[in-house]
């Protein structure tokens, strides 16, 4: 008895020699049909083993197979065959494409030895085994590449040396092995011409595939609206707020692989010209064909985009970055059309047609990756259109307030604009610039009937806006000077420091504005902790305006969630920038009924001059309000020591003094929300980690507003 094993995978078949031979016949037929070695019309259906099997009707083939099978059966009986191989060979190049291997293992001596045969296996079991193998052959085919060329087949038998081989029918041959490590690239005969270029073509194709992937990824982190929607759901999986970081990493990868890809192509085209596999010169490919032209254009665009996207340039002149980055539109067009006409093709000339995508893909052997990577591009384009439509919805600038520190507050009414505390928006003033959108943090709470942003006149756009609104530098300078002098009350204007001035808009029409947003992270998490520590450093304080207001509104409604106390820290380098924020803080501080709910801690880290020192000393002593901030809270000088602050907070919480009635609680959650430079973030995070214990849990979140 012999057993057969098909395809190295562990389906085995046990049966008598005749059964095995018969099975081999059907297996060969099935493979020949499935792999289209012979035209499918040559086969007819036969019911066998409880399954429909296709058997050839070609007479020549039939008799050839019969002859082989007879010999195989003879060998089987003698036990001299160990393996049968059906090899499919390319007709033209004679290279083997596939090998179907059947191992034969002798379980016992052949029947002739005179011993009593063991009881035959039940027919049904054998049949089901055969069915399983035939099914496996058929299902295997789906994993195999389609063979597009004429093929022939050989049947190889591995016999023992002694086996008697009928001359004329069987010849010695090499194993027709497929060289294992070679990939599609190396074995695909349609790529033969290109493969003559060897490593450079493999490098350029590989790098090209990476670039296509990068090209698909680069826009995904820029789908701001999509990210805003999915952010709460995916935040646990990856830091969705770090989208710009991801965008940059993809860009770095792109720069590197462009270098590899371009270098390889310079070698490719050099060799194409030298060997004339295509009748053209290198410069034709570089400067007259779609791939070359778009490639060189994309490189140029990349130089300009990367150059102006450097943080140095971005800070100097945001517009240079902003406008140049819109070259991305042409870059994406370039990347999608880079393979037009297919450099990787089996024909000499590109096969152009008149319908989309304007070249026939019949001769195209490239990856045609644009079919996959165009979707983020379409999505992004759609998002930009949507943003445009949304921005056009009715928006009215209702009020402009000028704070003495020089900050303007724009109050905008846009009923369709829904946001949560801590988010930001883009603002556009078409009268000043038709295309520019500038990001600002929302400073109003969602409960306010308007959306407000505070704008300091520091850049060219904001200065122009100030001029347009009648709050030009001269007006503001006068007010700031008055404020800086510490004039508590100016008799002539009746203005108190810290108050804002509403601009008279009767003789000055307010310009139309458009807003786009909101974007960024909501600060709703604040209401899930008992104690919220809000830390703003420098300009990073802006989002907390909205959050503090929002907390205040919810406090009024008595809807604070688990929140019991709020510690607000503001670390600021210089006194003048206390500016507008102080008026808001004053408002919030004044409104506090419970003095223990909100505590404001302000740190001034600037080196204090002698004049200022005396000024503070004179004004501070015995005054009801702090001379710098006009808050009841005193300003502290120097940098905060986070380790001590958190240590004290933990002690206070543990001793039960900090939160009234919190003793029964198992664990107090203290959430820190920070916005500012990363050096500070690191120090604070260390403090939170250090002080977390079984009673108090400190968490840390760096917010990206």
């Amino acid at each position: 008895m012999a057993s057969k094993q098909a395809n190295r995978q562990a389906i085995t078949l046990k049966g008598s020699t005749s059964l095995v031979t018969e099975f081999f016949k059907y297996a060969v037929n099935t493979i020949l049909f499935q792999r289209e070695v012979y035209p499918s019309d040559d086969f007819h259906m036969v019911k066998k083993y409880g399954q429909t099997v296709l058997v050839t009707q070609d007479v020549a083939l039939e008799s050839y197979l019969d002859k082989i099978l007879k010999q195989v059966q003879k060998w089987l009986l003698l036990g001299s065959v160990t393996q049968l191989v059906l090899a499919i060979i390319s007709k033209d190049s004679r290279t083997p494409l596939e090998r179907w291997v059947f191992d034969i293992k002798l379980v016992e001596l052949p029947v002739e030895s005179g011993e009593a045969p063991p009881p035959p296996k039940p027919e049904a079991e054998i049949q089901s085994e055969i069915r399983a193998i035939l099914k496996q052959i058929i299902s295997m085919v789906t994993y195999l590449p389609v063979i597009n060329e004429p093929t022939v087949f050989n049947i190889l038998a591995y016999t023992s040396e002694s086996a008697d081989v009928p001359a004329g029918e069987w010849v010695d041959t090499d194993p027709l092995a497929i060289e294992a490590s070679k990939s599609q690239q190396a074995t695909n005969t349609r790529l033969a011409a290109l493969n003559a270029l060897t490593w450079s073509v493999w490098t350029s194709r590989g790098a090209g595939l990476v670039l296509a992937f990068d090209g698909g990824l680069i826009l995904i982190p820029m789908l701001r609206n999509v990210i805003r929607v999915v952010r709460p759901k995916v935040q646990w999986l990856f830091p969705a707020d770090e989208n710009i970081w991801f965008h940059r990493q993809v860009a770095y990868s792109m720069a590197f692989w462009s270098m590899v890809h371009t270098t390889a192509h310079y070698v490719n085209f050099f060799n194409v010209e030298r060997t004339q596999v295509r009748k053209e010169i290198a410069l034709d490919i570089h400067y007259t064909q779609a791939g070359g032209i778009s490639g060189h254009f994309m490189l140029l665009i990349m130089v300009l985009m990367y150059g102006t996207a450097h943080s140095k340039i971005r800070q100097q002149c945001f517009e240079a970055f902003w406008y140049t980055h819109h070259l991305a539109f042409f870059f994406m067009i370039g990347i999608y059309s880079h393979a037009t006409g297919c450099f990787v093709r089996d024909s000499t000339n590109p096969d152009y047609i008149t319908t989309f995508p304007f070249y026939s893909t019949q001769h195209c052997l490239g990856y045609e990756s644009w079919r996959f990577i165009i979707w983020p591009g379409i999505l992004y384009f759609g998002e930009r259109v949507y943003r445009e439509i949304r921005a056009r919805k009715a928006t009215r600038l209702s009020k402009v307030l000028v704070h003495p520190s020089g900050a303007m507050e724009l109050r905008i009414v846009k009923p369709s604009f829904k946001y949560v505390a801590g988010q930001w928006l883009f603002i556009q003033v078409p009268e000043i610039s038709k295309f520019q959108w500038h990001p600002f943090t929302i400073t109003s709470a969602p409960e306010d009937p308007y959306v407000s942003v505070h704008i300091r006149q520091v850049g060219d756009f904001t200065r122009a806006l100030g001029d347009r609104l009648g709050a030009g530098p001269s007006v503001v300078a006068a007010m700031t000077q008055a404020a800086m002098k510490g004039a508590e009350k100016d008799e002539k204007t009746g203005m108190t420091r810290g108050d804002f001035v509403e601009l008279d808009s009767s003789n000055l029409s307010l310009p139309s504005v458009r807003i786009d947003g909101p974007y960024g992270a909501p600060a709703e998490d604040v209401f899930n902790v008992e104690v919220a520590v809000l830390i703003g450093a420098g300009i990073g304080v802006t989002p907390f305006a909205s959050i503090l207001k929002h907390i205040w509104y919810r406090q009024k409604r008595g809807n604070l969630g688990t929140l019991r106390r709020v510690e607000f820290f503001w670390v600021c380098r210089d006194a003048p920038s206390f500016g507008w924020f102080q008026s808001l803080l004053q408002e919030v501080e004044a409104a506090q009924a419970d003095p223990n709910f909100l505590r404001i801690n302000i740190y001034l880290t600037q080196k204090i001059g002698e004049d200022m020192l005396w000024n503070i000393a004179v004004n501070d002593a015995g005054a009801q309000y702090d001379p710098l901030t006009l808050l009841r809270t005193r300003t502290m000088f120097g940098r905060p020591d986070w380790m001590t602050i958190y240590g004290q907070m933990r002690q206070a919480v543990e001793s039960g003094q900090y939160i009234a009635g919190s003793k029964s609680q198992l664990k107090t959650k203290v959430g820190t929300y920070f916005c500012g430079p990363s050096v500070l973030a690191k120090a604070i995070k260390e403090a939170t980690v250090h002080h977390t214990n079984s009673n108090v849990e400190f968490s840390f979140a760096k917010e990206h507003f």
Partner: protein, 155 residues
Amino acid sequence: MGNLIWHDLGRFISITASVYAVWSSFFGFYYRKFFWDFVGGTLRDPGGIQPAPGAAVFITLIVKAPIIQILAMILGMMIVALEYSLPLVKGLALYRSFVVRIVLLFFQSFLCILYYQGTNASLWSLIAIGCYVRAQLLGEVMEEAKENRGKGGRA
């Protein structure tokens, strides 16, 4: 926000162009080809373009011996050293001169356009020249390098 400082942008583009020049000249050693050989050249199959006899001098300097490529590589490295910049260049008055950069970049642009791989480096060098010319016209001044005087901005 504010105004673009052109020599800062010029520096980035100039570094990119010069690194490209070094890399392209390196490949130019192995795949030697005169960029302008198609002018009056005849196409041979196989063999590629046979340049016109008038281009013999370039063939000598680029194909027979990679003289131009070597020069371009040295020049590219010099510009990178100047722009990046090498510590020992930083203190020199040369380091703060836009004219020196314009001249060096011009030569780089010229050398790179001669061989096959260098065209982009040449084009980008021209763009960098444009930035520096604009910087010069606007009267921008390169800040003197800080000599370990502590970190800037902190009193």
